[in-house]
């Protein structure tokens, strides 16, 4: 009786959160899955079951493959770099140095800014002729670039923005983790004669592994999720050079109103993300040392 009552309490406690999650996450996921096997509802042709038709069109759509490839490049480019930079920044501002708080705030600022504002700032950095980057590169004889307007550099440009935006956020996690590391370890290492680099490699880095795992999962998910700046900076162009999965889903779903195809793509995106998370937990969990 008592346990029943207790578990009832438990369920009631999670009910509000569970309802919201179900309403805005789980039900839409199931619905997308169902819709991905249905044709798009049109006044003259109501929605009907079409089996794998949507997936067939997806496989035949070159822009889908382009978006998927772009997204992988975008993820591989932004995740390791933003993590490395975040770790370096955290180590730097964890040391005792003058103006430490100021630096911490400075590093964190990109995170506070809304992505749309960030994108607009970076548009002017990348602008041909008089953009910030051009003004630096021109005196070096490397001018004449059109970063957002050419096939070779547009994806790189939006990846850099993602790194710039994300690093400060991940730094906060590393900073918190660094402050958990006991100063005794540093003293012990110093007595043993370990240098700064050895200490980092053998002590700090392993102790930061749980944080790294957490940050990496988040960074990878964000690489598929945070694409606001692409809308502002390139609109997926030139010629789909910066189109990524989520952007393409939006385009197909809300510009073409082809909900069947968009649902199929959503299912693919969910599978990719699920695989990423699973892979990371299984492959990396063994290497992570929890204190």
């Amino acid at each position: 009786m008592n346990t029943l009552r207790l578990s009832l309490y438990g369920w009631l406690m999670v009910l509000p959160a569970a309802t919201l999650l179900a309403l805005f996450t789980h039900i839409p996921v199931v619905e997308s899955f169902v819709h991905s096997f249905m044709s798009t509802d049109k006044p003259k042709r109501p929605s009907r079951f079409v089996g794998l038709d949507n997936y067939d069109s997806l496989v035949a759509d070159p822009i889908f493959w382009k978006a998927l490839t772009n997204n992988l490049i975008y993820a591989l480019g932004s995740v390791p770099l933003s993590i490395a930079i975040a770790m370096m920044m955290a180590l730097f501002v964890n040391d005792k140095l003058a103006g430490r708080s100021f630096l911490r705030v400075a590093y964190f600022t990109p995170t506070i800014l809304p992505m749309i504002a960030v994108a607009n700032i970076w548009i002017f950095f990348f602008t041909p002729d008089y953009g910030l980057l051009e003004q630096i590169l021109k005196p070096l004889g490397l001018g004449g670039n059109n970063f957002l307007g050419s096939n070779n550099t547009a994806l790189l440009a939006v990846t850099i923005v993602a790194i710039w935006k994300e690093s400060g956020f991940f730094m906060i996690f590393y900073l918190a983790a660094l402050q958990q590391i006991s100063p005794d370890l540093k003293e012990a290492a110093a007595i043993e004669g370990a240098g700064r680099f050895t200490f980092f490699r053998r002590v700090t880095f392993p102790l930061l592994m749980p944080t790294t795992l957490f940050v990496m999962v988040n960074a990878l998910i964000n690489a598929f999720r945070v694409v606001d700046h692409i809308f502002v900076m390139t609109g997926g162009g030139p010629n789909n050079a910066t189109s990524v999965l989520l952007f393409r889903i939006y385009e197909v779903g809300f510009k073409y109103f082809d909900f069947g195809l968009a649902s199929a793509m959503t299912v693919v995106l969910l599978c990719v993300l699920g695989l990423v998370a699973l892979g990371q937990f299984f492959a990396l969990d063994r290497r992570v040392h929890y204190q």
Partner: protein, 430 residues
């Protein structure tokens, strides 16, 4: 616990009851009207003022303007609301989206809403260039409201410095190319310090490209919106000309040119000429430190420009009473006086000849003659591409144009691919 639950129930039933009560007593007709913001300036404030003015003149009708994002977001929200059985009464949506709205069976023809000969005269009072893509299969579905067209802007000081007549813009493609070459300046190291021309090519590349194709005497789609003409040799020639301005003449930056930063390039003196919407007139006028000229878009065989922008649409499912109220509101929003006011405040082209006869517009034009150029260009203007599955087909064209402008594909191959793909998308409509 129990009493808490009971209290919660009492409170919520009470709240629900009150809610129903309140709406039952409201006798006002409420019109929800979705609109996008596509240009700079205090658009929401102006719209709210117009709505308040209408409510004052028409007691019993409440207007609820709903700002819904850009054009794509606004039609997305409107169609989602339609599917959810909660359509707005009115919306301002892209003129070129008429096919989507009709195919989705979301809107009613204006012909079914208007009742009197006076109403009919009102519909006939708008510029034909704007009405062309307000009609589909012989029926009128939209009323022009915020319409724009691109024009050529040139920097008179730079023209003078290059030995050109500062009061005359280029009249055709050849002149535009010659002028652009003369106006391009390089420093000692060979880096360009001043471009001859910029025709923005990112985002919706097709819009300005329609200016080039029309100037070459070719239409990009048929009137029924079922066929496109991408692979026509004249379309290929137009795209080649655009690309050559960069590649062969070196008078235009290579790669894609950003729509948003082009007016800034012009104001900062980085380019001597640009193609841009009249929606930027006020911006350039307020910020340029030099005298500038406005002219028709030069063509090869004729003048030509696209029109763009948004129209009013009436949604399905309104009662007759609501329809009458909606009609009254749209008429209020499109009177010559309001069209003139809207045009001078935003830079959109006034949608009817009568608006240019109003004292407000005459005073504005006397002070700023450039405003009249856009109107005069209308007789050469054609609607931006309007076909079934419009966004999808537009995207095909944009991808092809961008592939060419970035040097990834030659013009004829890119346009041929786009044509084949567009025919596949449109096969259900032929």
């Amino acid at each position: 616990m129990n009493s808490l639950t009971r209290r919660f129930f009492t409170v919520s039933t009470l709240a629900l009851g009150l809610g129903f009560g309140a709406s039952a007593y409201a006798a006002d007709i409420e019109l929800r009207f979705y609109y996008p913001v596509a240009v700079g300036g205090p658009i929401t404030k102006i719209i709210d003022e117009y709505a308040a003015g209408f409510e004052k003149d028409n007691p019993g009708i409440k207007i609820k303007p709903v700002y819904a994002g850009d054009y794509v977001q606004t039609i997305g929200k409107a169609l989602t609301a339609v599917k959810g059985g909660d359509a707005p009464e009115l919306a301002i949506l892209l003129a070129a989206d008429i096919t989507s709205l009709v195919d989705e069976d979301a809107v009613v023809p204006v012909d079914d809403v208007i009742k009197t000969p006076a109403d009919k005269a009102w519909v006939e009072g708008f510029y034909p260039a704007f009405m062309e893509n307000a009609k589909l299969k012989g029926k009128t579905y939209a009323i022009p409201f915020q319409r724009s067209t691109p024009v050529l802007y040139w920097n008179k000081e730079m023209f003078k410095a290059a030995g050109l007549d500062p009061d005359k813009g280029p009249k055709d493609w050849n002149e535009m190319r010659d002028f652009a070459k003369k106006l391009t300046k390089k420093d000692a190291s060979g880096a360009v310090t001043q471009w001859g021309i910029e025709i923005p090519s990112d985002g919706n590349s097709l819009w300005l490209f329609t200016g080039l194709t029309t100037g070459n005497g070719v239409r990009i789609n048929n009137a029924e919106g079922t066929k496109v003409n991408f692979a026509d040799p004249k379309v290929v020639e137009a795209l080649q000309y655009w690309y050559d301005l960069s590649k062969v003449d070196g008078a235009q930056p290579a790669g894609l040119i950003n729509w948003g930063t082009t007016p800034r390039d012009f104001i900062e003196g980085r380019t001597a000429m640009m193609w841009h919407t009249t929606g930027n007139l006020t911006n350039v006028k307020n910020n340029a430190k030099f005298p500038f000229g406005i002219g028709f878009l030069p063509g090869k065989t004729q003048f030509g420009a696209p029109t763009g922008g948004g129209n009013f649409y009436f949604f399905k499912g309104m009662s007759a009473e609501k329809q009458a109220a909606a009609l009254a509101f749209v008429k209020y929003m499109t009177t010559p006086e309001r069209a003139a006011d809207w045009s001078t405040k935003t830079g959109y082209v006034a949608t009817q000849p009568a608006a240019y006869e109003t004292p407000a517009m005459k005073a504005y034009a006397a002070d700023f003659p450039a405003a009249i150029i856009a109107r005069d260009q209308l007789k050469y203007a054609v609607p931006e591409m309007t076909v079934h599955e419009n966004q999808r087909v537009t995207k095909l064209a944009n991808d092809a144009i961008q592939a060419v402008m970035t040097g990834a594909k030659p013009a004829d191959a890119a346009l041929k691919d786009a044509q084949a793909e567009a025919e596949r998308v449109l096969k259900d409509f032929n």
